[in-house]
């Protein structure tokens, strides 16, 4: 008598597996085939200009694997030949310059871990609980290590004129993505990156070159970066006027809302990741991040906010990077109302949905960083809910 997983010989105990080179570029176990980016078909008109979502509930630690980093493009994935890729710096500079990829690789490099969050992450939840799964409610985010050249080195090669107050990065894809970024940010911590998690950028993340704008909305991290113009005014292009502006209840709209507010979500348990055991010791975990610094603290509640507990932070705590938290507890098998509340290094505390709606209404689409609630029933099944 006993567990057949032990008492019976399994095929892999006996037979030889594949040799080396069976998968020259390795991939996950086929038992993990369900771990993938997923889209919401009704959200956009066409998959060529659309978004999919990182499966946060299947991940741990703080690094997003390259193949699972959510995608957002506006004209499909550009298939750029790196030998034909150029980066041009023009506008208010002493000398307009052109760089090849080879030239870029000759600048000093830095390695930095940053989260990239779409400003519309959780945007479908403004009016109420809508999507069942943190992949869909919070999955427009990824966190990888970039290798790249500080943008200031490249700008200084061209020599920014004293009236150069703004830059406009531009993509080489069919959407010709453009955004306006103040020169202070450009000279502070922006990178021109060519690697993510050690390997070349994935095509869907801007291969061969993308801009990294730490802590600021993902739309500004222009992919397939081919040009940076320096100017004395912002350009007010499509993605900073008709999109990525925050419409308030009074009909007026905030613009240039660049920084991503402090935010967190419990990834397990969650609707796509129910509790699979009966009562007993269980591990709750989640992620938190802030565009303004680090996350020294996350609070967790099991009873819908009556009582809160400090979660245990684990893993590297890096500026403008994702942070991992855990809360281990004995589940008594009764229903739970789970929430997490992040504090960032500026002292800001993640607001409730009610607090945010009071200031912003529900029409703004972008920058929803409110506290998320999961209801877990006595069977361990989790659901996206809102509570009083």
């Amino acid at each position: 008598a006993g567990d057949p997983a032990i008492t019976e010989m399994q095929p892999w105990n006996q037979m030889l597996g594949d040799g080396v080179d069976a998968n020259p570029y390795g991939k996950p176990s086929h038992y993990e085939a369900h771990v993938k980016r997923r889209s919401v078909e009704w959200l956009t008109a066409d998959p060529v200009s659309s978004v999919n979502f990182t499966p946060l509930h299947e991940l741990d630690g703080i690094i997003t694997p390259n193949g699972l980093a959510f995608e957002r493009h506006h004209g499909g994935i550009a298939d750029v030949d790196p030998a034909k890729h150029r980066l041009m710096i023009n506008g208010l500079v002493d000398k307009p310059l052109v760089f090849t990829m080879q030239d870029i690789m000759r600048f000093p490099r830095e390695n930095r871990v940053y989260f990239l969050e779409c400003a519309a992450n959780s945007g479908m939840e403004w009016r109420g609980a809508q999507l069942n799964g943190c992949q869909f409610t919070h999955g427009m985010i990824h966190n990888v290590m970039y290798t790249g050249v500080p943008l200031r080195y490249i700008l200084e090669e061209a020599g920014v004129k004293t009236n150069g107050k703004w830059i406009m990065p531009e993509g080489a894809d069919a959407s010709g993505m453009t955004r306006s970024i103040p020169i202070e940010k450009a000279l502070d911590d922006c990178l021109v990156a060519f690697k993510m998690n050690g390997e070349a950028l994935r095509p869907e993340q801007g291969y061969p070159l993308r801009l990294v704008v730490p802590g600021w909305e993902g739309n500004m991290w222009v992919k397939w970066l081919r040009r940076i113009e320096v100017g004395d005014q912002p350009w007010h292009h499509r993605e900073e006027t008709s999109k990525y502006t925050d419409l308030m209840e009074n009909g007026k709209a905030r613009r240039f809302t660049w920084e991503m507010d402090c935010k967190s979500v419990i990834t397990n348990p969650s609707p796509q990741a129910p509790i699979l055991h009966t009562k007993g010791h269980t591990v709750l975990t989640g992620v938190a991040w802030s565009g303004r610094g680090t996350i020294p603290r996350v609070d967790v509640t099991l009873d819908g906010g009556k009582n809160w507990h400090q979660a245990r932070m684990d893993g590297p705590s890096l500026d403008k990077s994702m942070h991992r938290f855990y809360f281990e507890f004995d589940w008594d098998g009764s229903p739970l109302l789970l929430q997490s509340r992040a504090h960032d290094s500026t002292g800001y505390v993640q607001p409730t949905k009610a607090q945010l709606r009071e200031i912003r209404g529900v029409n703004s689409i972008y920058h929803n960083n409110a506290i998320q609630t999961w209801y877990v029933n006595e069977k361990g099944i989790a659901e996206n809910v809102e509570i009083s």
Binding site: P96, L97, I183, F256, G304
Partner: protein, 379 residues
């Protein structure tokens, strides 16, 4: 960060950090002297851009008119161009097809429960319209319009939004005289003043509220995509944890579809791999509007599965133009010959077609794309 607007365009900023040498490393401990050494250096990398190179890429336009090319276009010309290039996604009157962007109307709705944000109701600057159409439209054939075409389409979009009369002509001369109605209703990020202080402070940890009620549930809305495979994995894991047998019932969505009939071994359509591969590249021009292959469905244009031998206008549920409906009634069929003629010059061959595509100039491209469509869409 508290940036303030000096006027509607110019944002007043602290002085640039150009002279800064001791910028703190973003998120790692690093010796400052190493950073300073690098900062002080110039690397003499890259080469000077030529005037022609800058001109080729520098097409951006600003609200003050900087970047506008010389040119002009009127509403009537714009209407023709719009119908040919834009209406299939954005609708004849800018009302939009499906979930493509609505371009006209919506004035006075910004405080509504469901605001309609269009060029006329929301966009602050006309230059944004010109710049975006010029750089990214038509979808799937970017930067194919002439400067005059873009002026004309921009003029027509103003007309669709009741902002100009039908005899209006837009040019680089009068461009900045046009002001958009919603320009004044944008203001800079004020979260630092309004929110950061409000959301900072001590938090309650114990006995924070008496009662908690569930006020909304995503399950009621029921718009989450199903994932049968992941659910099955969870059920198996749960079953294993309970020591019971894994459920044998497989979710319906996971059941494999009936196997298609095996293609004949000497299938000629799939034979020329090189031609098909070349056709796949050509097809990029088509795929903004057409899908082909397993599971392809209608987009702006009908799906192209089983196109070879299909009756013209023969996809159920797709709304064809009159010329296609007529051809269908006459029993016209798509084959290499008809397709080839259509793709060479769609508007001449099928006068009145909704397809805005200008046509493929090279016969090689036509042959390749037909081979690709036939191989990919074989039923």
């Amino acid at each position: 960060m508290a940036y303030t607007l000096a006027d509607q365009f110019i944002v007043d900023m602290p002085a640039p950090l150009r002279e800064a040498v001791a910028v703190a490393p973003a998120n790692a401990e690093e010796p400052k002297d190493a950073t300073a050494r690098v900062m002080a250096a110039k690397f003499s990398l890259g080469r000077e851009a030529t005037t022609d190179e800058v001109a080729a890429w520098d097409i951006d336009v600003r609200p003050d008119g900087q970047g506008l090319p010389p040119g002009s276009g009127d509403v009537m010309t714009g209407e023709e161009l719009y119908v040919d290039n834009c209406a299939m996604c954005h609708g004849d009157f800018g009302e939009a097809v499906g979930r493509w962007p609505v371009l006209a109307g919506g004035q006075g709705t910004l405080t509504n429960d469901r605001p309609v944000k269009t060029i006329g109701s929301y966009w602050p600057y006309l230059s944004t319209v010109f710049d975006y159409v010029h750089r990214a439209m038509p979808f799937g054939n970017a930067q194919s319009l002439s400067d005059d075409d873009v002026y004309a389409i921009t003029a027509y979009l103003l007309y669709l939004n009741d902002l100009v009369d039908d005899d209006f002509e837009l040019s680089n001369e009068n461009f900045t005289e046009v002001r958009m109605p919603n320009e004044e209703n944008f203001y800079p990020d004020d979260r630092a003043e309004i929110e950061l202080t409000a959301f900072t402070g001590d938090v309650c940890m114990e006995n924070c509220k008496d009662a908690v009620d569930i006020t909304g549930r995503a399950a009621v809305v029921d718009v989450t995509p199903d994932d049968a495979a992941a659910r099955k994995r969870r059920e198996e894991a749960a079953a294993a944890a309970e020591g019971t047998a894994a459920p044998t019932e497989v979710a319906a969505a996971e059941t494999a579809p009936a196997a298609p009939a095996a293609p004949a071994a000497d299938d000629a359509a799939g034979g020329d791999a090189e031609l098909v591969a070349a056709g796949e590249k050509v097809f990029r021009k088509c795929k903004a509007c057409h899908a082909v292959g397993e599971g392809a469905s209608n987009k702006v244009g009908p799906h192209l599965n089983g196109l070879d031998g299909r009756t013209v206008g023969g996809v159920d549920g797709f709304k064809y133009s009159g010329t296609f409906t007529d051809a269908q009634a006459n029993g016209m069929v798509w084959n290499d010959e008809t397709l080839s003629a259509f793709l060479a010059n769609p508007k001449t061959y099928m006068k009145g077609t909704k397809m805005s595509f200008a046509g493929l100039k090279k016969q090689d491209d036509i042959d390749a794309v037909i081979a690709y469509i036939n191989a990919e869409g074989k039923e």
